[in-house]
């Protein structure tokens, strides 16, 4: 069984082919790093996998179930969670309310119009537990607008983890962080149990390469190289893509 499998996935925007017959097979518990220069189609690939974009061709399997035609809103219910390259949170709410919203997303309670959300103690406790996991419980009630960029990155990850995903897609989780914050986030990601399969896009090779079991190099929407860290780093096509011929 694979945790996430992509077969001959293709996508074009008009005449521009952004994803071209991409194949990907991620094993359960694996840490897969997707790298590639700007415009390689990494985020587009994530958007196709999560269903935010409809593919022109190909298929996507989550835990061997074909989810190609499953609406994007239903994929979290099947065990897929993601974070965004550009932080996408709820700035008018507190940190704990942000995480509560993530928990509500998978709960039938979200349709309830006449119960007090603050009195749903089980929900609140789970939100606090998710924040404790990433070391933010001490500022749980702080409005998101009063938090640092690094803390928001952590909240993004807390929201994704709160949903107990089987496959977690991280889109540049180290982007815009200081050295200390990068170290903290890296430690946080290393502590995620192997029951969660992680696919990560990242430009920052210093922190990302150590983290990955396997690496996939994308260029102009195509998979150029795939393998272990040593295989990808030693491959001349990697140097060609990053440094030129």
């Amino acid at each position: 069984m694979t945790a996430l499998r992509v077969e001959r996935l293709s996508k074009s925007f008009g005449g521009l082919r952004v994803t071209s017959n991409v194949n990907l097979a991620v094993e359960p518990g694996e840490r897969r790093l997707i790298i590639g220069p700007n415009g390689a189609g990494k985020t587009t690939l994530f958007n196709l996998i999560t269903g935010e974009l409809k593919p022109d061709g190909g298929a996507i399997y989550l835990l061997d179930r074909d989810i190609t035609r499953v609406p994007s809103r239903s994929r979290p219910h099947l065990g897929m969670a993601r974070t965004y390259q550009i932080i996408t949170l709820f700035p008018r709410d507190t940190i704990v309310r942000n995480v509560t919203l993530a928990l509500l997303g998978l709960s039938p309670l979200r349709w309830s119009p006449f119960v007090d959300i603050d009195r749903q103690h089980e929900l609140t406790e789970r939100a606090h537990a998710a924040l404790a996991r990433i070391g933010l419980s001490h500022i749980a009630k702080r409005p998101l607008a009063q938090t640092s960029y690094g803390e928001r990155r952590r909240v993004e990850i807390a929201m994704a983890l709160a949903q107990n995903p089987k496959v977690l897609l991280l889109d540049e989780p180290f982007a815009g962080l200081s050295i200390d914050e990068r170290r903290d986030i890296k430690q946080l990601l290393l502590e995620i149990p192997r029951e969660v399969t992680i696919v990560m896009i990242e430009h920052n090779m210093d922190v990302a390469l150590d983290f990955a079991d396997k690496i996939t190099l994308l260029h102009f929407g195509e998979v150029i190289v795939e393998g272990t860290r040593a295989e990808v780093v030693d491959d001349p096509r990697t140097r060609e893509v990053y440094l030129g011929a």
Binding site: F90, R110, V115, I117
Partner: protein, 332 residues
């Protein structure tokens, strides 16, 4: 006293004032004006569900307001009783809100606004032109008001209390709604629709249900309006009615419970009371709105809260140095 500790006494005071209003106002004209404020507050609160909590600005809610009124009026004209008329009015407004939602939710932002505007104008056009059904510009008269449990609502205080009861029910429902998981979900779709989708929410359905909820309370206010005037005409469905309701919400403060009520009070008082003394009352209303938007862009109620907090902080800061002086400088 900070804002939070002032809130409970203020609510109790407001409830007492509302409950005793016919006694201390006395004049039936002003009691009727108060009834109007309450029924338009219900309308504004209903619109606020979409504008404030859903981020969906509608300019067609007068269409829903009128649909409920016309449905009930035509039922009464056809010889049915008040209960049947009211239930039909509510069913019709729910069905109309569903149609509004299905069509308008194809878009958000300015697209949503334009589609709702067009739908509202269609309702106005039907009310105005389909004279064989709606009696056109002459409107439909309703000779009697309902008498629930034998209570006659024909006089101003009785109708005021009936309106107050429905208004309080509406406020209570809105308070629950705002604090509920569904309310939080709706606010989430306003702030980050894409993120909500990625978290497993059906954004379209949440917005659709919100339109039904908003439409239902708009219908309730439309029925109150019908029974208040005992008459309905195409003017009720006109763009001006939608625009006034939107002004009530925006001027009072979107995404607040008190804001739309304050907005409704301003508009109704300007239309009914100030217009008796100032011929160009529209100009005064415009100046008031410009002043609110200039000095309190978040709306009257949140703006007053902000100024209160600023004033309270300044007051405390002025007192603090004096207290410190007493400590550091011992008296001679």
């Amino acid at each position: 006293m900070n804002w939070r500790s002032a809130r409970t006494p203020a609510i109790v005071l407001a409830l007492v004032a509302l409950a005793t209003l016919p006694i201390w106002v006395g004049n039936p004209y002003y009691i009727n004006v108060s009834s109007q404020i309450l029924l338009f507050a219900v309308f504004a609160l209903a619109l606020n569900v979409l504008v404030g909590y859903g981020g969906l600005v509608s300019l067609g809610h007068a269409g829903l307001f009128a649909m409920a009124g016309y449905a009930a009026a035509l039922m009464l004209q056809a010889g049915y009783g008040h209960l049947a008329a009211i239930l039909t009015g509510l069913l019709v407004v729910l069905a109309s809100a569903a149609v509004f939602g299905l069509l308008a939710l194809r878009s958000t932002g300015i697209g949503f606004l334009m589609i709702t505007l067009a739908l509202g104008q269609i309702v106005w056009g039907i009310a105005y032109r389909w004279a064989s059904l709606t009696n056109g510009d002459n409107g439909v008269n309703v000779p009697t008001r309902p008498a629930p449990f034998g209570l006659v609502l024909s006089n101003a205080p009785a109708f005021y209390y009936a309106t107050l009861l429905i208004f309080l029910l509406c406020v209570g429902t809105m308070m629950l709604f705002v604090r509920s998981p569904f309310g939080a979900s709706l606010r989430g779709t306003r702030d980050q629709a894409r993120r909500m989708n990625a978290l497993g929410y059906n954004v379209w359905l949440i917005r659709f249900v919100a339109i039904l909820f908003s439409g239902l309370w708009t219908g309730v206010s439309g029925l109150l309006f019908l029974y208040y005037n005992q008459f309905i005409s195409p003017q009720v469905a006109a763009l001006q009615t939608s625009a006034e309701a939107l002004l009530m919400v925006i001027s009072g403060g979107t995404a607040t419970l008190l804001g739309p009520i304050a907005g409704a009070a301003i508009v109704v008082i300007m239309k009914n009371v100030v217009s008796a003394y100032i011929e160009r009352w529209n100009l005064v209303l415009g100046v008031i709105f410009v002043a609110i938007i200039t000095f309190m862009p978040e709306g009257l109620v949140p703006g007053i809260v902000r100024f209160w907090k600023l004033g309270w902080r300044a007051f405390r800061e002025r007192r603090a140095p004096a207290a410190l002086r007493n400590v550091v400088e011992p008296p001679p």
